[in-house]
Amino acid sequence: MTHDITPLEASGALDAIDRGRRQVIDEIDLPTWYWWGLALGWIGLGVITDLKHPWLTAAATLAFGAVHSAVAPRVASGRHRTHQVSVRADVVGRRTARLVIGSVAGLGVVTVGAALAASADGARHPVTIASVFVAVIILLGGPRLLAAIRRRAAAA
């Protein structure tokens, strides 16, 4: 070997490599428009449901599901927050997309529960109230979920 590197220099080099890895890990996220689109779509669906036109609710639900199904596979992995970098799948972790999609499905259950509670309390627009509640959870909780995923990736 031709190198003459001390353990201290080697440690410094590994630190530099780790900094680069963390700079990429900082890019693990979903685009902001995804969270806002999801929250606004959720409220829209709640408002339409409260109109009590079953065919309209069914059509809106199908449209919402179709749009989300088209968008989520491209962004839910958390690897493409921007067009500037693509984070490696093994750095992000394989469970990110499942966590995001699973959370969205779980929020559907929360919406139903909150709507039933609001309805039992005599609210005139229970689903709208429930969907606004869930939209706030999406906007506050979505970025926190991804922050937790970034912390886990950094610790790996």
């Binding site: 353990p7 590994l14 700079q23 990429v24 500037q84 490696r88």
Partner: protein, 98 residues
């Protein structure tokens, strides 16, 4: 397990930062590397050319949104050299001062 192999080309501090960053990414745009590493266009371009000539980095120029972009990614040879270099650095630390 990766065989330790110290790589003089990668070890140069600027190139080490570039390769360390690219090792965590499928690809990164030139502007991302420049901004994250705080380098000038010419300095980054020079180092990428060196890494490309060694076969460690590939430069792609896709066109999206009517803009020509410049993306860099580690090649398989680059990733293998990087992993060997990291293993060598860890070995130096494990062995301790001579």
């Amino acid at each position: 397990m990766t065989e330790p192999k110290f790589d003089e080309l990668i070890h140069q501090s600027t190139r080490l930062s570039i390769v360390g960053l690219l090792a965590a990414a499928d690809w990164a745009e030139f502007s991302f590397l420049r901004d994250e590493l705080g380098m000038s266009d010419s300095a980054l371009s020079k180092q990428l050319t060196t890494l490309e000539a060694a076969g460690y980095v590939a430069i792609d120029r896709p066109v999206s949104d009517h803009r020509r972009r410049v993306r860099a990614r580690l090649t398989d040879a680059g990733m293998a050299a990087f992993q060997g270099h990291v293993a060598a650095l860890r070995q130096i630390i494990a062995v301790g001062p001579a």
